[in-house]
């Protein structure tokens, strides 16, 4: 699949809605001129007001987010507050504006022949799986979805996808344990028929990579890293692969699990 290229430069997108799902906030915006993103692609987001610049302090750089959902010209982003940039983004209200660059990077590709998608997400990393599920469902396939969250504050994120099996670290919803427990069960039963699509925290992705490796199951992993630019300029978002370091922003963020030396990206999730 050829990647969808982004318009050159930053553009204004009015915020149309703000929704809370437990600890998560979904910000919707209207992107009148951009192309429809592919599932797994991402955008660099900046709040138009109160975002560094000039004499300001942090946040200074844009923040990278996989698109959660695209409905016509409306883009949805899933945000969890973890620092000054995500704090500002979760405060956005209708009437304010986002500045965005995107869609960027390589998204998910269709499963190999004779395999069906199996979606595995953790925490805020469930975002690209929602738009991927939308596309798979539109194509007539009902793919199993396994989602993991740390506690009852975060489990409401599961409602953003359809028919998800849930695991929570504290047992407050669904399976008491890791989402990778559910994955092992699925692969024990159907490992010869599925291809895994996963996004989540580094430790989860590393576990997914190991489990899929043990079962001989192909996996596409959407990784995260701190990024300054998102379009290959800063060389800041590298991950180690069998071919050496690659830039997640232009060679990912979706990478084949077999390419990776490790899915634990230094400095991610911070």
């Amino acid at each position: 699949m050829t990647r969808t290229t982004a318009p050159f430069g930053r553009r204004m997108a009015p915020v149309t809605a703000r929704e809370e799902h437990g600890a998560y906030v979904v910000i919707r915006c209207r992107d009148r001129t951009g192309p429809a993103p592919q599932p797994g692609q991402f955008y660099m987001l900046t709040a138009a007001e109160r975002w560094g610049g000039g004499e300001g302090e942090r946040p200074f750089l844009p923040r990278a987010f996989s698109v959660l959902r695209a409905r016509g010209p409306e883009l949805h982003f899933l945000i969890e507050e973890v620092g000054p940039g995500t704090k500002r983004l979760t405060e956005l209200e209708p009437g304010e504006d986002l500045l965005l660059v995107g869609p960027l990077g390589n998204g998910f590709t269709k499963p190999r022949e004779d395999r069906e998608p199996l979606l595995v997400g953790g925490g805020v990393g469930i975002a690209p799986l929602a738009i991927w599920q939308d596309e798979l469902t539109a194509g007539g396939s009902e793919s199993p979805v396994l989602l993991g969250f740390r506690d009852s504050d975060h489990a409401p994120g599961a409602a953003l996808l359809s028919d998800a099996m849930v695991a929570t670290d504290d047992g407050s919803a669904g399976h008491h344990g890791r989402v990778t427990d559910l994955l092992t069960g699925e692969l024990d039963d159907h490992g010869d028929r599925v291809e895994v699509y996963a996004c989540g925290p580094p430790a989860m992705l590393e576990a997914v990579r190991a489990i899929c490796g043990d079962h001989g199951v192909p996996a596409q992993l959407a990784l995260e890293s701190g990024m300054a630019c998102g379009f290959g300029a800063c060389f800041g978002c590298v991950v180690p692969t069998v071919d050496g370091y690659v830039r997640l922003c232009v060679d990912g963020p979706v990478l084949d699990a077999q390419m990776l030396e490790s899915a634990v990206v230094a400095g991610a999730g911070h």
């Binding site: 560094g52 610049g53 200074f60 890293s225 701190g226 060389f235």
Partner: protein, 297 residues
């Protein structure tokens, strides 16, 4: 708003800082629109070294107050890889190409300069001297004598313009600039990033994989102005000024301090097309402002 620089007729005075814009990767992200609206009047490519480099282990970035600390470590394909893969693509850009090179000894720099000396695709060379000379242990760009010795060795190798990218860590940056001019440099560019560090709040250890990194962005803008001003008092050759340029007014300030061209760096990370906006702000400001020209004064 044309600009004359070392014999090059440029459409405007705004270029990119080396290592802050990868035109090949940007073409993949933005397609042909990048070429149609190319933001810089000349393109400076990322530092090329003799041998390929993987660069530093991640994490490589830290957002600082009004800026960014990067510890990238000059990853590149090496001279042979650059000549085979990057140069043919960069030669197709709609603007002149300036190649930035760095060596770990004067001999390595000489090999790099020699390799580009006869390449028609290359309009000028920028020498990154912010690195230690492995033979002397001295940072080449921190010492006027080192810079002069380097220029004496490489100047005879090419008729192409040689731009010396000065390091802001020199005790007397103007003295280094003067040494470069006297030894035959055609221009100087400044400032490079300033050495900085960040601590991981969770572990108390240095955050960056390379321990320290280079600080850039608006935080360094006043330092850039002061150093460009100091260098402009010391040399006659043209100056490429850079450091925290985010607006047209910053370009004008650097030109008033003595820069002929101005480079945009970190601001392109925030908006890939930032230089287009900055350029049009400069046009508007110039329509209403007289720029102090240090030569006609």
């Amino acid at each position: 708003m044309t600009a004359e620089f070392c014999g090059l007729e440029l459409e405007h005075p705004v270029i990119n800082a080396s290592g802050t814009f990868d035109a090949i990767a940007a073409r993949r992200a933005f397609g042909d629109e990048l070429i149609e609206r190319f933001p810089f009047s000349a393109f400076v490519s990322k530092t090329v070294t003799l041998e390929p480099r993987q660069g530093n282990p991640p994490p490589r970035l830290w957002e600082a107050a009004g800026g960014l600390i990067n510890s990238i470590g000059l990853p590149n394909k090496g001279l042979a890889g650059y000549l085979e893969h990057d140069l043919p693509e960069l030669a197709r850009l709609p603007v002149p190409l300036i190649v930035n090179v760095m060596g770990f000894s004067h001999g390595e720099v000489a090999q790099l300069v020699h390799a580009f000396a006869e390449r028609d695709e290359v309009s000028a060379l920028e020498l990154n001297v912010s690195c230690p000379n492995v033979e002397t242990g001295l940072t080449i760009g921190a010492d006027p004598n080192e810079v002069a010795a380097l220029l004496h060795q490489v100047r005879p190798l090419t008729g192409k313009p040689l731009i010396v990218k000065l390091t802001p860590s020199a005790t007397d940056v103007a003295a280094v600039a003067r040494a470069a001019e006297e030894a035959g440099a055609d221009a100087v560019s400044l400032i490079n990033t300033l050495r900085g560090m960040a601590v991981d709040p969770r572990t108390g250890q240095p955050w960056l994989g390379g321990t320290t990194g280079g600080l850039s962005g608006p935080a360094v803008r006043p330092i850039a102005l002061a150093q460009v001003h100091a260098v402009a008092q010391a040399v006659e050759i043209p100056i490429v000024g850079m450091g925290g340029v985010a607006r047209g007014a910053d370009v004008l300030d650097l030109m008033r301090a003595g820069a002929t061209l101005v480079a945009v760096g970190t601001e392109s990370f925030r908006d890939p097309a930032a230089a287009l906006r900055i350029r049009s702000e400069v046009s508007e400001l110039l329509a209403n402002t007289a720029v102090f020209d240090r030569r006609s004064a």
